[in-house]
Symmetry: C2
Subunit: 470 residues, 2 copies
């Protein structure tokens, strides 16, 4: 099934004047209908053209959100929660019209309980902001999708990224939520206890629901003590396959590596150019080890041995925090570096994730297909989780290139599904992967998701048209 979303399945729904008037009365200058503001809120980092909402409401409190949702419910108007706009699958497009709820001003770290390793934040707090706020306590929040995303948005898309191989994803690291329901009611799920068997796991039902079941207005997260020792190393390999095989062996041996990122030669070339890193342009793993001094040394020795067996070269160490930051910043900028290397291009990025033993086959075939297509591309991957991104760089004016990229994505996803993986490791379904979701889970499972959606949002006002058509 083709991944591309048939936007004609959606129609813009009427936004009554009475609703806009009520919104203006309640929110005054915090309700904007300016074209530029609407445009900005009707797109994300995906290649989709913007589909602007009719208005944008800048919420500052949970009560603001509840009131906006109540008004929307009263008038049957769609609403789309907005964090920083860094999603990648069209999550923010107003495909059925309605309004955008900008939660960026809800950016308070509400509470840090250092002794319990928990923090409660408003949804607009970004991951970097949280980490700044807690580093003096010797704590950190590991989930790192690259972008300085909002924590509400990260919860909504079940984000993960470079540290997930050791610390898990948002699925494992959200303890509790405050959510505004489709009726505008404020509910709480979970507690600050590390575990619970108290009824349905609504917390994890909201995590990854992409704004379609409720608006997240507060997130309670697990924190971690900053490791006694952190060290990062680069290892160059003769081939992508050698780097991948090394990763597979690391995971199968149970090494508690904190980060293990693949960059193919194209990705290294792009970040080299963009960030002037001077790395040799071969496939490489960028790794990080966390633990005690002795533990980190032991992990690194084990991994160096594994890498050596697979033709990996000597580790190059990033010995200072500054060097480490420079490398990770470069890694995180790969997306923009890739675009910068091909001015005017758009990026079509894939997000498959497979069981680790299938990773070599999954990536190897994807490389062959991409090479054969002639499209520029690069590969990065959180390979310790079996998650990899092939980014195809296309000329936005070329429908043929767009078709080629979509065909490659189709092939890549179908292969990942055959290998018992998932169409999306961390980006979510949004608009772009709705067909793939059905391919992955089957119609009956998506039908059950629809059943849950209809029950929790009977008017279909919460980010309608995302994940699946109703």
């Amino acid at each position: 099934m083709n991944a591309r979303h048939d936007l004609t399945a959606n129609a813009r729904r009427p936004v009554p004047d009475a609703f806009l008037a009520a919104l203006a009365a309640r929110f005054a200058e915090r309700c904007s209908r300016a074209q530029a503001v609407r445009e900005q809120h009707g797109r994300d980092e995906s290649p989709f053209e913007a589909l602007p909402p009719e208005a944008v409401v800048f919420c500052e409190t949970t009560a603001d959100v509840a009131d906006a949702v109540k008004l929307a419910a009263q008038h049957g108007v769609p609403l789309i929660p907005y964090g920083v706009g860094s999603s990648l699958e069209g999550h923010l497009l107003a495909v059925q019209g309605g309004i955008s709820l900008d939660l960026g001003r809800m950016n308070q770290v509400v509470r840090v309980n250092a002794e319990d390793l928990t923090a409660t934040v408003q949804p607009g707090v970004t991951r970097k902001q949280l980490n700044e706020a807690i580093k003096h306590l010797g704590l950190f929040f590991p989930i790192d999708p690259g972008a300085d995303a909002s924590l509400g948005g990260m919860a909504a898309t079940r984000a993960s990224g470079t540290n997930a191989v050791r610390y898990g994803t948002m699925r494992e690291n959200v303890l509790a939520l405050e959510v505004v329901t489709a009726a505008g009611e404020v509910i709480r799920t979970g507690t600050r206890a590390r575990k619970s068997s108290a009824g349905y796991d609504l917390t994890r039902l909201f995590v990854g629901s992409e704004g379609t079941l409720g608006v997240i207005t507060e997130v309670t997260l697990k924190l971690y003590p900053l490791p006694e020792a952190i060290s990062a190393a680069i290892c160059h390999f003769p081939s992508v396959a050698a780097a991948v095989d090394t990763t597979i062996a690391i995971i199968q041996m149970g090494v508690p590596i904190a980060r293990v990122e693949l960059l193919d030669a194209n990705a290294v070339r792009a970040v080299n150019k963009h960030d002037k890193l001077g790395l040799r342009e071969t496939p490489m793993l960028l790794m990080e080890f966390h633990g005690s001094d002795a533990g980190v040394a032991e992990q690194a020795t084990t991994v160096q041995g594994i890498a050596h067996e697979h033709g990996g070269e000597e580790f190059e160490w990033a010995r200072t925090p500054e060097e480490r930051t420079r490398l990770w910043t470069a890694r995180h900028r790969a997306y923009f570096a890739g675009m910068a290397a091909n001015p005017g291009c758009r990026t079509v990025t894939t997000d498959a994730c497979v069981p680790i033993s299938r990773l070599a086959e999954a990536i190897g075939e994807s490389v062959r297909e991409a090479d054969a297509s002639g499209l520029p591309y690069y590969i990065v991957g959180h390979v310790g989780d079996g998650n990899y991104h092939v980014a195809y760089l296309i000329d936005p004016k070329s429908p043929a290139q767009a078709d080629t990229a979509e065909r490659l994505n189709d092939q890549l996803v179908q292969r990942a599904l055959r290998l018992e993986g998932t169409c999306t490791g961390e980006h979510g379904v949004g608009l772009h992967k709705q067909g793939f979701l059905v391919d992955e889970t089957g119609e009956a499972t998506v039908a059950m998701m629809r059943t849950v959606k209809r029950a929790m949002d009977p008017q279909n006002i919460l980010n309608p048209g995302k994940i699946f058509a109703l």
Copy 2:
């Protein structure tokens, strides 16, 4: 709100003769109406009196389950999935009549993918059976609730136990499920990939749903490499408070301890008597360390230092696997040891879990209240998670003792909730904690759970009357 469930809220629903005839025709001798079989399937390890189902169907395949559910749906008859019967909150009582689906014969390890650290099992496979089946591969499945529970049942109650502090609970360790829905349809959730953002997390919605949303017919689990080194140690403390404070410090320092179990002096006395262990009868921590040789030694040194600061004595090491097994077996038998020490008694067990910083207060007050009550009791706890069980031993013929135990449980739970914890860390809600669930989450959150339940099981045939009244 009182914890005890008002059984009058439930009425036994009619079980039409036509249904029983159809069941007999489909399942022949695998459908039993024998009194002893019904009695056995109408109770669990809770103090509730048995409420037997009308019939028990012994399922051998997913198709058996699907057919039984379809018949039940056609006739509006309740059904209750049954694993090994080790649940603790009345989950298995046929409060609205209907039938029990015994899944014990669905006990095949379907597939082990050692290279991916995953296994797929039928729901009747027990945790010990799985561990036997994989140990030759150098792998283990860590979740250990004490009882040799079925993995389907453990998923259904979101079980955890002694290893959760390091390896998480069933919430973190179930990758995928096959489930028979209330309509008798077979669906699959999740894949063997370690992470996914593909739509609603139905896997985790079913995990912990106590058989009320679907019947789990297959579970795909994460496995772990057996650690290079495992060592277990006992540390005696002058008081429960000292042991708890030690635990808090261990967790706050981020020591990756694999198990840290509290036994109060009463619990030590009971297991001593039952298992002839010869332990000194003071509060103690029973700990286990997993890792490399050096890593385990480092953890143990750190923890010994912390314990010493809190008045803990020198570690006593269990140096051989046999010694370790003996200690853990004794720990797991505490429940039965407690009962054996008080012949004829029943156990009312609590299951609160609080943020780690609140653990000393939570347990300390509970000890004071239990001492003042005059009831025999003992305390065990997975204290690294903030989870503790006070077990009150009551004479089943004494309504006054039952009332006292319930009052103590009420006080203990309300305190845990004030301390931002949960009424159940791992046992689930069942019949016994329905009032506490409302106290914990609020009416609106339980109302949302009911909304999900009604949508997924519109006839309310799946384990009705559990978690909440509809």
